[in-house]
């Protein structure tokens, strides 16, 4: 039976009880089963492992735990064997039995399941020896390795809700705000506003009803740290919200979570229900007199709803259109009441700050910005996943040391940071430290932490087109400059990609971009030109190649490329002919084949099917 927690000593007792129950199992097998793990088959692996434990009669000895994402999504499903500490990668259900019979029972390491360090060629046994993990500082994400997100006990076992108890019983709201200020925590949702100061504004606002909101709309397509946190360790954000609510004087919280993250929705719903059942949410928490309740709203698929005023409209059941600020939500927010909105990662940092102290947190990171930031290192990088490092870590450290550089043969070309509001940073800026101010000066933003690595097969004009297409579709249409501006910008870049660009187009793009920036109502429009402006700034030659030479150097823009078969390499196997969906390839067995460019739809299927790699793009 699970007991209600009414006092601090109940929490301590629960923690001890859970620890004891865990100690009864000499072995623990942890399987990462976030959405990305499930995509790679961790669901079947968990079932196979449970069956194998039963089959081998180990039910009293081996605890099988399924957790959220451990960050290194590239090598999922990952199995962690304790107490040996061994990490196995890309584990299949068939491997379940041997992991138990060999590693658990006989202490034999299964070499074939170990990770191979691509640089040294050595097999690696322990997570902390893998280069991807070694250089990280996993302040927030570490807990994802340890807790089953469906179990509040797991969270309590790692010291969960201790920070809330401390805030409620040993501190007062001013002291909590003070710690938040000292920590130099800045909002992780993109704008980077100092969290402690934001809380203070809201605390000062006079009203008997106030709200806190957790922004889990995670709109940047390519960033997924919020999903990972909510999905893998939902109680940490909840605990942070409760502490923040205490600080500003709110009794009600809302979590606005993207509906595209079904598992995150499920896990946070469950977490809220469990916390209520245990008395960690609800009335008179820890007997402190402070009451706090949380409910969950699902987003409905609109990027602009990540913007705080649009989000508030959406929670009120309206179209998610932004409003002019001021008044800021801290003064007039949800239902006209003072409202404090923070991002998931911001909230999840709060318990750490309360436990360890603001000064401790501030010492990690830079002068202006404390703590760590989680980045979603994706795209053409060798090791993709979630990377948590102190703010101020260089792009090179993240992309090369942790990410292992570019996957395959290509060369690093650019990294896109900050999503649709950010920009593309070229190779010569690789030593920039990643913090709010430096990246903004370079024409991008740190944003919510998307980091999309691009190599020489990525066309920067196409990337600009991609973002403009996204933004014109997501513009809510309320203000003209954003609605029409993103549409016109898109049309110009589209015609450049199609080989119909004119030389004046580049100046026109810059001019129009400035107008959209200056005259749009909300952050969406104000930052919408960043992707096109930053690519123009750093990759102007590539635009010029499209316009003047009618060439796409990266071989992406369909109107400007052709597929050609190299007569020296082609072995005449007819495979490409068979694969071509439009019969554009002709030839005979053992004779060199030919692509008919008029028929070819540039789908690239032939390139992928060609074993001797005889087909290339010009």
């Amino acid at each position: 039976m699970t007991a209600t927690i009414k006092k601090l000593k109940d929490l301590t007792r629960e923690k001890e009880r859970i620890a004891k129950a865990r100690e009864a199992y000499p072995f623990c097998i942890t399987i990462s089963s976030g959405t990305c793990g499930l995509a790679k088959g961790s669901g079947e692996l968990v079932k196979a492992m449970q069956a194998a434990v039963k089959g081998l009669g180990l039910s009293k000895k081996v605890l099988v735990k399924s957790t959220g994402c451990h960050g290194f999504c590239d090598i999922e499903p990952v199995v962690h064997v304790a107490p040996q500490g061994i990490l196995y990668q890309k584990v299949a259900p068939e491997n379940a039995k041997e992991i138990l019979s060999e590693t658990v029972l006989r202490n034999n390491v299964l070499d074939k399941l170990l990770y191979t360090d691509p640089r040294s060629g050595q097999k690696v046994r322990y997570a902390q020896e893998i280069p991807f993990y070694k250089a990280q500082r996993r302040l927030l994400t570490k807990a994802n390795d340890l807790v089953d997100p469906e179990s509040i006990d797991d969270y309590i076992a790692i010291g969960g809700y201790r920070a809330l108890a401390k805030a409620l019983l040993e501190m007062n709201p001013e002291k909590v705000i003070d710690e938040a200020k000292k920590s130099r925590l800045r909002g992780r949702g993109g704008a980077g506003f100092p969290t402690g100061f934001k809380w203070e504004f809201c605390r000062r606002a006079k009203s008997d009803v106030k709200y806190v909101i957790c922004n889990a709309d995670e709109g940047d397509p390519g960033a997924y740290m919020d999903r990972s946190l909510l999905e893998g360790n939902p109680h940490s954000a909840l605990e942070g919200m409760a502490i923040g609510a205490f600080a500003i004087g709110a009794r009600e919280g809302i979590i606005y979570v993207r509906h595209e993250y079904p598992l995150a929705v499920r896990n946070i719903r469950q977490a809220v229900a469990q916390a209520k059942r245990r008395g960690l949410l609800g009335k008179n928490i820890f007997g402190s007199g402070f009451s706090f309740d949380v409910h969950i709203e699902r987003g409905a698929g609109a990027f602009v709803c990540g913007e705080e005023t649009a989000l508030i409209n959406s929670v009120q059941g309206l179209r998610g259109e932004p409003k002019q600020r001021p008044p800021f939500p801290a003064v007039r927010g949800l239902w006209g009441k003072p409202t404090n909105i923070n991002n998931v990662e911001t909230w999840a940092s709060v318990p750490i700050i309360i436990n360890k102290g603001g000064d401790w947190f501030a010492r990690i990171g830079t002068e202006a910005s404390g703590g760590t930031k989680i980045f979603s290192l994706v795209g053409k990088c060798a090791h993709t996943g979630l990377v948590e490092v102190p703010i101020g870590t260089s792009l090179r450290e993240i992309i090369y040391n942790i990410g292992g550089g570019i996957k395959g043969e290509g060369d690093f070309k650019a990294v896109q940071t900050g999503g649709p509001s950010g920009g593309c940073l070229p190779r010569h800026l690789i030593d920039l430290p990643v913090d709010y101010d430096t990246l903004a000066k370079a024409g991008s933003i740190m944003g919510s932490g998307g980091m999309i690595v691009m190599d020489d097969s990525t066309c920067m004009v196409d990337v600009a087109k991609y973002f403009l297409n996204f933004l014109r579709n997501e513009s809510c249409g309320k203000c003209l400059s954003c609605r029409e501006g993103t549409q016109r910008l898109y049309e110009i870049v589209e015609r450049i990609c199609e080989g119909n660009g004119k030389e004046e187009d580049l100046d026109l793009l810059e001019e129009l971009a400035q107008v959209v920036k200056d005259s749009s109502l909300c952050g969406l429009g104000q930052t919408a030109p960043n992707p096109v402006l930053s690519t123009l700034r750093y990759f102007r030659r590539e635009y010029e190649a499209h316009i003047k030479d009618k060439r796409c150097p990266a071989g992406v823009c369909k109107s400007l490329i052709q597929y050609v078969i190299d007569g020296e390499k082609c072995i005449g196997c007819t495979l490409c002919m068979k694969q071509c969906p439009v019969n554009a390839i002709t030839g005979e067995l053992k004779k060199v084949h030919k692509v008919d460019s008029d028929k070819c739809i540039r789908c690239g299927v032939c390139v992928e099917s060609c074993k001797p790699k005889a087909i290339f793009v010009v």
Binding site: P221, E260, R266, S314, G450, F467
Partner: protein, 168 residues
């Protein structure tokens, strides 16, 4: 206490009544209501939208206004199978456009459409949060990573049930 709620009695559809039952009938509940209706029917039937307007006491155009503002809502019935390709940035640079083209060609429909036999709907979404293993395609709730045009074609031909369905 025993006051009747006349607004609630008009639907005549027990399935819909069940969906709307937990709601108090406040306009703020509109988006959740629509989401629950879509979870139940797979889309928003016109009758249901009318019923929402009645239940909340708001004009029907307001309900349409909300239903058309948000990308998740669909006003037409989806196919028996839904294939969703992620067109987020990470998947884009890893070649999802060619995957979408291939799916489009295989099925003979554009993204956002359903095959005439009602078998498949092809959808796109900007990011499913599995960016590290892109391109990502979801077939009937089952996530697939590192999809290329060939594997995408195979997915359509064999709607697998083997893997875990991710539901909220």
């Amino acid at each position: 206490m025993k006051n009747k709620k006349p607004k609630r009695n008009g639907s005549g559809d027990p399935r819909l009544d069940k969906v709307l039952k937990p709601y108090k009938g406040e306009p703020r509940e509109m988006i959740s209501m629509l989401q629950d209706i879509q979870d139940e029917y797979g889309f928003l039937p016109e009758d249901a939208l009318r019923q929402v307007a009645v239940a909340l006491g708001v004009p029907l155009p307001d309900v349409f206004g909300v239903a058309t503002f948000y990308r998740m809502f669909r006003l037409n019935a989806p196919g028996r199978h839904t294939i969703t390709a992620c067109v987020g940035t990470a998947c884009h640079v890893r070649g999802v456009p060619r995957v979408v083209d291939e799916l489009s060609r295989t099925l003979g429909v554009e993204p956002g459409q359903t095959t005439p036999d009602g078998e498949y709907s092809l959808e796109t979404v900007a990011c499913l949060g599995c960016c590290a293993i892109g391109p990502v395609v979801v077939m009937d709730g089952v996530y697939h990573g590192q999809v290329n045009p060939q594997t995408a074609r195979k997915l359509v031909k064999t709607p697998a049930k083997a893997k875990e369905v991710v539901k909220s």
